[in-house]
Symmetry: C2
Subunit: 528 residues, 2 copies
C-alpha cells in the first residue's frame, strides 16, 4: 500500500469515508482544461471544519504525504484544482462554506473558503443588505480562493486582495493563527482594521504554500445611489495608446471608479459564436476580416467599458468629464447608461437592464463560460496575463509583439485588458480543443513565447498556470533570485516536512528543491 | 574592551570614523522625551550606502552586537531613536537620503530612508511636478520610517503603508532582497505594481525587525484641480456619536476623500498656549472651564476637519452633500474654504491661504511641535492611540472611560481622532514635564491604565512606544499568542543571531526570549 493510501485510510477516520475522494469512475480531481495529455485524476480529502483541517495537516506530517489545497478548484485557465506534483492529495476546502457575518454599516464580511461569489451575493440580496460584492469573470469560484490567488473583479473594490482584512490560518504544523487585530481574543476589529502589531502576516498567505487559510475578513462596497455603465469604442487599432492614456488618467484622478476593461474584436466575436461562424480559413483570422467583423458587429477595434457609482450629481459630473476628455479624439464614441432608483431610492438590481447586470455591478455570472467554445466545441483555454506599466505606447508595443506571436502559431489574439491607475493587466487568452495534441503543443509553445517576450521587457504575469510556475518564478532573478530564496527560507521554517502545496508559485520545500528549479521534481518519497 | 567597542572600531574601517557616533559631550542618541529617568545616551553607526549596511550587518553577526535601526529617529512620542535594549548600537540610516525618482504621470516615487517629508515636498515643488505628497503631523521625519511604522497623513493617500510599492531590504544575514516586481532585474514595475509572484513579502518588513529597508517605492496623489478645506464644529460633547457616524459614512461613500481629524477643546488650547494660560488650579481642567474656553475660542466641543480634492464640479457637489447630511443636527456648523487656480489652472499652493496649507494639503510643517509646551516649558509627550471600530456610540463610551482616567491622574485629555471608513484612531496625548519624576510616574501609570482599558474592550494601539511593546504584544493573545509565536519563528529563521532591533514590537530573538515576555530581557551576552 503506498503512502497516499495510508493517508486516505487514516483521513477517513477523521473526516468520514464520504469525505475521502478516491479516484474511481467519475470521482477524483482533474483540471478541466488540461494542457498536457495523459494526466491522471487525483484523490482528495474534504474537511468540514478548522479542527479537521488541523488533524489532516498533522496526519500529513506523520505520513509525509503532501496536500495540494484549494477552495473550490475553479481556477480555470490556471489549472483548476490541478497540483504541481501529482503525488499529493487534494485538500478540497469547499465544504467549509459558512458566511459568518456581513455588516452593511461598516461594510465587511467574514467568509470561509467554500463560499462562492454566488453564495455571498445571494446571502446579501436575501437579507436586503446595503453592500455590493465584487466578482471575477465567473461566479462559481471561491471568494477567498480568488482573493488569495490575487484575482480581481471590476467594481471600485475590484482589486480583491486589497479588501482582505484579517485571516485565520492553519500553519503547516497544525497550529492555528489569526492575523491582524484578530490575533486578539474578544475583539470586533478583525475584519475592520487592516494591520495588527508587528510584521504584517497576511501577505505571506497569498499565492502561498505557507499555510491553509480557513477564514478571511473581506471589505465590501456600500450600495450606491446610482450606477452608470459606460462604453468607449475606438475605430482604429493604432489609437490604443491614446485610449489607454486617457482611461488610466481618469482612473488615477478617480473620475472613473473601477478598472476599465478594454477588449478587441476577437473578444467580441467569442461572445457571439465560435471561430468557424466567422472564418473558415487556416490560422489566425486576418486583419481585413477582423475589420469586416468589427463593422458587422457595429463596434470598435477597441471596446472599453467603465462604470460610475454613488451620488447622482457626482456621477453626472464624472460622465461629463469623461466625455470632455475623449472629445478631441477621432473615431471615438462614448456612451453610457444611467441607472437610478425610483422615487429617490438607491438603484436596485431590478432598475438595471439585464445587459448591465455584470461584473461591473458586482453581479456573479457564468456567461463568459460560453467563450471557451471558440476553437472547438470541446474547448479549453489558458490565460497569459502579464502586468505592464499603464503607458499607452508601451502597451501598444507589447500588443504588437503578442499579435505577431499569435499569428505565427495560428491562434486568434483574444484581448481583455484591465486598466488600473498605474499598471494594466495584459490579459490574453489562448483557446484550444481539448485532447487535440497538435493544437495543445502549439498553445504551449505560444504561451512560453509570450512569457519570454514579456520577461524580456521586464514584465511578469500577476498569477500563473500550475505548469508554468517555476518558469515565471525563475524570471524574478534579482540577486540570484533573492526573493525566492527568502520565500524558500520561510517555507523551510514553517513547513519543514514540505506538506503544504509543494511547488506552488515555484516555491518547493527543501527536500524537493534542486539547483535547477525549472524542472519538475521527483515524486515525494514514500517512507512513512 | 566590551563587544560594542569592538564593533564600533571595526565599523569605522567600513564607514569612516566620522560616521561612528560615540557617546561624548553632545554626541550620542537619546529619546528627547524620555519616560523613565536615568537612561544613558547611546552610540551608533551611520552607513551611507546599501553596501555599507550589508557590511555592518555582517560585522554585527560576527561580533554578536545587535543593531537598533531607524531612519531619522523622529518617532516622537514613541521613543524617538530609543532602542528596546540599551546594549545595542544605533543604526542611523539618515545619511542615505537619495530621491531616486518621482514620476508625476503614473504618480510614484522611489526614496531612501533618510528622505524627509520636507525633502520630498521640496524636490517636487522645485521641479514643478504634478503630484502631492502625504505628510504626518511633523515634516522632519523620514518618509520611509513613518510608513514602515504604519504612520499616517491626511490626504486621500494618508494611510501611508498602503502607498508602499516594492522594497529593497538587507536581511539580517546581509543578503540583499528586492520585493514585488522589483525582484526582477531590468523592470520598471517595482514602484508601479503592488504584488509580485508568490507570497507577498512587504508586510514582513513593516513594524519589523526582520530586515533593514534601504529603499521603497511609494505612490503619490495626482495634483488636484481644486482643494477644499472644511470644518465641522459641534457644540455639545454628547453629540460625538452622531458626528462620527456621519463623517465615517461620508468617508465610506467617498464623499469626503480623506480621514477627517476631530479634536476637542484641550487640543485647540494646546495650539493657543500652555495650560497655565487657561487654568491655574490643580489637576485636570474641569468641564465648566473647558466650556468657557470653547466659547472664548469660538469653537465646538468637537472640531472636525475634512478635505476635498479634484475636479471643481465634483467638489461642489461633495460639499453640498456634506452640508445636507449635517443639516438635521443641532448645534452644528459646517464651513469650507474653496481654493482653485486662476484662469482655469489647477490650484497652486500660492492660491491656498496660509492657514490651509496643512497636512490635509500634503504640506509638511513643524507647527504642532509647540503643543509640547502644554504641561511645562520643558515638555514632552507620549501618545496612546488605540484602534476602535468606527461606530459613534462605541467611540463615545471609550472616550468617557479615557476622560475619567485622565481626570483621576490629573492630566488634560488631548484628543485628535482620525476617522477612517471602518475604524478610527483614538489618538490621545499625555503631556508632561521632562525630568519631573512624580509627573512621569503618573503619566506612565495613566498610559498603562489606558492600554488596559482599551484591551478590555478588544482594542489595541496601531503602533507603540518602545517601553510598551511587550505589554501590547501580550494582548494579542489568541491561541496563546499564536501570531507572536509565528513572528518569532520568522525571526529565528531570518535572524538566528538576533542582531536586528531585538524586541521591536515585542519580538525578541530566541536568545533573549523568556517564558514571561513582558519582562525586559537581560543584556546581550558580551562574548565575541
Amino acid at each position: 500500500m503506498d503512502t497516499r493510501e495510508t493517508f486516505l485510510d487514516k483521513a477517513a477516520a477523521i473526516i468520514g469515508v464520504d469525505n475521502v475522494v478516491r479516484v474511481a469512475g467519475e470521482a477524483g480531481y482533474k483540471d478541466p482544461y488540461p494542457l498536457n495529455p495523459g494526466r491522471d485524476k487525483w484523490p482528495g480529502v474534504r474537511p468540514g471544519s478548522v479542527e479537521e483541517v488541523q488533524a489532516l495537516v498533522r496526519l500529513a506530517n506523520q505520513t509525509r504525504v503532501a496536500l495540494w489545497t484549494f477552495s473550490k478548484g475553479k481556477n480555470l485557465g490556471y489549472g483548476g484544482p490541478e497540483p504541481r506534483d501529482q503525488s499529493t492529495v487534494a485538500m478540497d476546502l469547499g465544504r467549509m462554506d459558512a458566511i459568518h457575518e456581513v455588516d452593511d454599516k461598516l461594510c465587511y464580511a467574514v467568509v470561509e473558503p467554500g463560499v462562492t461569489f454566488f453564495d455571498l451575493f445571494d446571502y446579501i440580496q436575501e437579507r436586503d443588505l446595503k453592500v455590493w460584492t465584487s466578482v471575477p469573470a465567473l461566479g462559481w469560484g471561491s471568494v477567498m480562493g480568488n482573493l488569495l490567488d490575487r484575482g480581481y473583479g471590476m467594481t471600485p473594490m475590484g482589486d480583491h486582495v486589497k479588501a482582505l482584512c484579517g485571516m485565520e490560518v492553519v500553519l503547516p504544523d497544525g497550529e492555528l493563527v489569526r492575523t491582524g487585530m484578530w490575533a486578539m481574543e474578544g475583539t470586533d476589529l478583525g475584519p475592520i482594521f487592516q494591520g495588527g502589531f508587528g510584521p504584517t502576516l497576511e501577505g505571506l498567505f497569498t499565492q502561498s504554500n505557507l499555510g491553509i487559510v480557513t477564514k478571511i475578513g473581506l471589505w465590501l462596497m456600500p450600495w450606491p445611489d446610482v450606477y452608470v455603465s459606460g462604453d468607449v469604442t475606438v475605430e482604429r487599432e493604432e489609437d490604443l495608446p491614446q485610449l489607454i492614456d486617457i482611461l488610466t488618467e481618469l482612473r488615477r484622478q478617480d473620475i472613473t471608479q473601477n478598472n476599465a476593461l478594454c477588449g478587441n474584436v476577437v473578444r467580441a466575436a467569442t461572445m457571439r459564436g465560435a471561430k468557424r461562424d466567422f472564418y473558415d480559413g487556416e490560422g489566425s483570422i486576418p486583419d481585413e476580416r477582423l475589420e469586416e467583423m468589427r463593422q458587422e458587429f457595429g463596434i470598435g477595434q477597441w471596446n472599453a467599458r467603465f462604470a460610475i457609482y454613488g451620488d447622482k450629481g457626482m456621477a453626472e459630473r464624472r460622465l461629463e468629464i469623461i466625455k470632455e476628455r475623449f472629445a478631441g479624439m477621432e473615431g471615438v464614441e462614448v456612451n453610457a447608461r444611467f441607472y437610478e432608483g425610483s422615487e429617490g431610492q438607491a438603484v436596485a438590481y431590478e432598475d438595471i437592464a439585464e445587459i448591465d447586470r455584470t461584473q461591473m455591478a458586482g453581479v456573479p455570472t457564468l456567461k463568459p463560460l460560453s467563450t471557451v467554445g471558440w476553437a472547438a466545441e470541446n474547448g479549453g483555454h489558458i490565460d497569459a496575463a502579464p502586468i505592464i506599466p499603464a503607458r499607452g505606447q508601451e502597451v501598444y508595443d507589447f500588443y504588437q509583439e503578442a499579435k505577431q506571436l499569435y499569428r505565427e502559431y495560428g491562434f486568434d489574439l483574444y484581448i481583455g485588458y484591465h486598466l488600473y491607475p498605474r499598471h494594466m493587466v495584459h490579459v490574453t487568452m489562448i483557446f484550444f480543443e481539448l485532447g487535440n495534441d497538435e493544437m495543445l503543443a502549439r498553445a504551449r509553445e505560444l504561451y512560453e513565447k509570450l512569457l519570454d517576450a514579456a520577461r524580456r521587457r521586464g514584465y511578469a504575469p500577476y498569477r500563473s498556470h500550475v505548469d508554468y510556475m517555476d518558469r515565471i518564478a525563475d524570471g524574478f532573478d534579482f540577486n540570484n533570485n533573492a526573493a525566492r530564496r527568502l520565500q524558500e527560507k520561510l517555507k523551510d521554517a514553517l513547513d519543514p516536512n514540505g506538506i503544504v502545496s509543494p511547488g506552488k508559485q515555484g516555491i518547493w520545500p527543501a527536500r524537493l528543491r534542486s539547483g535547477e528549479s525549472a524542472q519538475l521534481p521527483a515524486l515525494i518519497p514514500a517512507e512513512v
